[in-house]
Amino acid sequence: MDMKRAYYEDIELFKSGTILFWAIVLMVGLFTLPLFSTNYYLYLFNLIMVHVILAVGLNILVGSTGQISLGHAGFFAIGAYATVLLMTKLGIPFFPALILAAFIAAFFGFILGLPALRLEGPYLTIATLAFGLAIMHIIGHMEVFGGRSGLRAPDLNIGIAQLGWNLTLTTDLSKYYLILIITILMVLGAINILKTKVGRAFVAIRDSDIAAEVIGINLTIYKTLSFAVSAFYAGIAGGLFAFVLGFFDPITFNFFLSIYFLVMIVVGGLGSIMGSIAGAAFITYLMYALFKNISDIPYIGDFIVNISQRWLSITGIDNLSAIALGLVMVGIMIFEPMGFFGIWIRMKKYWKAWPF
């Protein structure tokens, strides 16, 4: 069933009728979702999709090329600030501003990719981490970027104001469709990148950069390209994130955000696009929604509230989401290092030969 007989079968988008069918079901589901859900869930879905874009991009870097980045909040911030500032200060329409901002982020990715050529392992980790922190501080200290007090996103006008075409998206519903379409495009892009020469080169570098160099892959070009592509995705995600939130400050893009991003792809499954989507959705839900009202959680909610009243502090109960995230991170690494994608592969293997 899985045997490939021709190269085309390896690169086609829908490998079988089943996949095509479920993809169509998913698309129909996503486009009709606003009919069934409340405004709050649309907001949550917007956040999830923004994180999906970022996670897919980060997975190209970490999962496919094997370079660890703890500084993606920096690219995310660059995308958000650049989009908003290009729109408000220079009056550039939304789509060009978004793409320009993503290219700015990609340029910074290229810059960060240069030291990454010489660094490996822990040294690369500290360099990317320093980059993320540096971006946060630079933004916080420059008045152009709104300083510590943050920045307010303008109206999301996807038309071109200079030509008199105005189409302002104000509700979460309209933003949902905009972000959904961009997300689908970005995910399709990522799936296709991994099937081209560039994507194969990335994977070869991950598996062994020396062997990759021997077979003629230019490490300088492809490693920096990988950083740039990943930063491009983060830039797009950041630009959209600015409008989902409406208001943001430098602290939004702190060190922990970089950790959350890394956790998304690790929980989802390294090197797998579907895995990063699942991971981004799961972690976003965990961070923003699951522990919003702790006493409403079935069965254990009251118990947790009681414990924290008796032994711990009731004000700090929001930190439960951090604890849950920590447990998820440790648990997934110990029990299933491949993440959701690994669980899925195991299930598929089990059922394929089921009676035996």
Partner: protein, 291 residues
């Protein structure tokens, strides 16, 4: 502020970073794990001191002793519960596990003690100053830091060179499998190195909390700087990390004096520049990946 004062305070801060970087290096040397949880483990143990002092009114030294024991147990437990079960971990999965432990500890500490800053007073003060030589002012805190750092360094030198456990740690670091063949229980050696590292981290954190503040996030930036100092020193050498720490502390103090707004990132900018020139730190052989 006079030059000498900046120098001494910078060196003292650097010694703190160096001590804390020692906690990172100690674990990296034996088990090749970058312990991102080091900061939060130290923070949690410092909160134990705080808790004993504030809620149970223990004398300071008793509280410190309790925290020492707690830190050692915590370090060994983290290794035992979270790191030992991971099968064939890659660098990334080790990073994620230790980051997970960090989130766990930080979440739990802010749940228990709240996110606000705590009143935490130690017998050593940053305000009391001495002037042993005319024109050379040193604070009580800086003196305590230098003395404690020297004691710990001497102890570590003795420990690594003269004791059985220290020799076993060096053997494990050089070749885990050969050490096993020689009859060393490497898992136990790892647990011990985690416990030691946790205690050293606690010492550094208590010293740092005197100078800065005490809240569940207070070790985040010192940890990053200590980690940077360790990287600067090459992650493998103990003198290297102290020199790296001193460089970090001095850079931070002098740049911080010149451009206060950019204090937090000058150190990191220098780290990245240094790494560009010497990709594996100042005092290490090149970081070689086995092919």
């Amino acid at each position: 502020m006079p030059f000498e004062h900046l120098l001494v305070e910078g060196l003292a801060m650097g010694a703190c970073y160096g001590l804390f970087g020692l906690a990172v290096v100690m674990i990296y040397k034996t088990s090749e794990v970058i312990n991102f949880a080091a900061g939060e483990m130290a923070m949690f143990s410092t909160f134990i001191v705080f808790h004993m002092l504030t809620f149970y009114h223990w004398p300071f030294w008793a509280a410190l002793l309790a925290a020492f024991i707690f830190a050692a147990v915590l370090g060994a437990l983290v290794q035992y519960i979270f790191l030992r079960p991971a099968k064939n971990p890659t660098l990334l999965s080790l990073i994620v596990i230790t980051l997970g432990v960090e989130m766990l500890l930080m979440g739990f500490a802010s749940w228990k003690w709240g996110a606000e800053q705590q009143e935490f007073s130690l017998p050593i003060s940053y305000m009391v100053t001495y002037e042993p030589v005319k024109g050379f002012v040193i604070s009580q805190w800086a003196m305590a830091v230098f003395i404690i750092a020297a004691i710990i360094m001497a102890f570590l030198y003795f420990f690594f060179n003269k004791t059985n456990l220290g020799t076993a740690m060096r053997a494990t670091q050089q070749n885990k499998h050969a050490a096993k063949i020689m009859g060393i229980n490497t898992d136990r050696v790892f647990a011990f190195s985690w416990a030691f590292s946790s205690v050293i981290g606690l010492v550094a954190a208590v010293l740092l909390s005197t100078k800065t503040i005490l809240d569940p996030q207070f070790m985040l930036e010192p940890f990053l700087k200590a980690f940077a100092a360790a990287v600067l020193g090459g992650l493998m050498s103990i003198p290297g990390v102290l020199i790296g720490g001193a460089i970090m502390g001095l850079l931070e103090n002098f740049f911080g004096y010149a451009w206060p707004a950019w204090k937090p990132i000058t150190a990191f900018a220098v780290i990245v520049l240094v790494l560009c020139v010497r990709p594996s730190g100042l005092f290490a052989k090149h970081w070689v990946k086995k092919v």
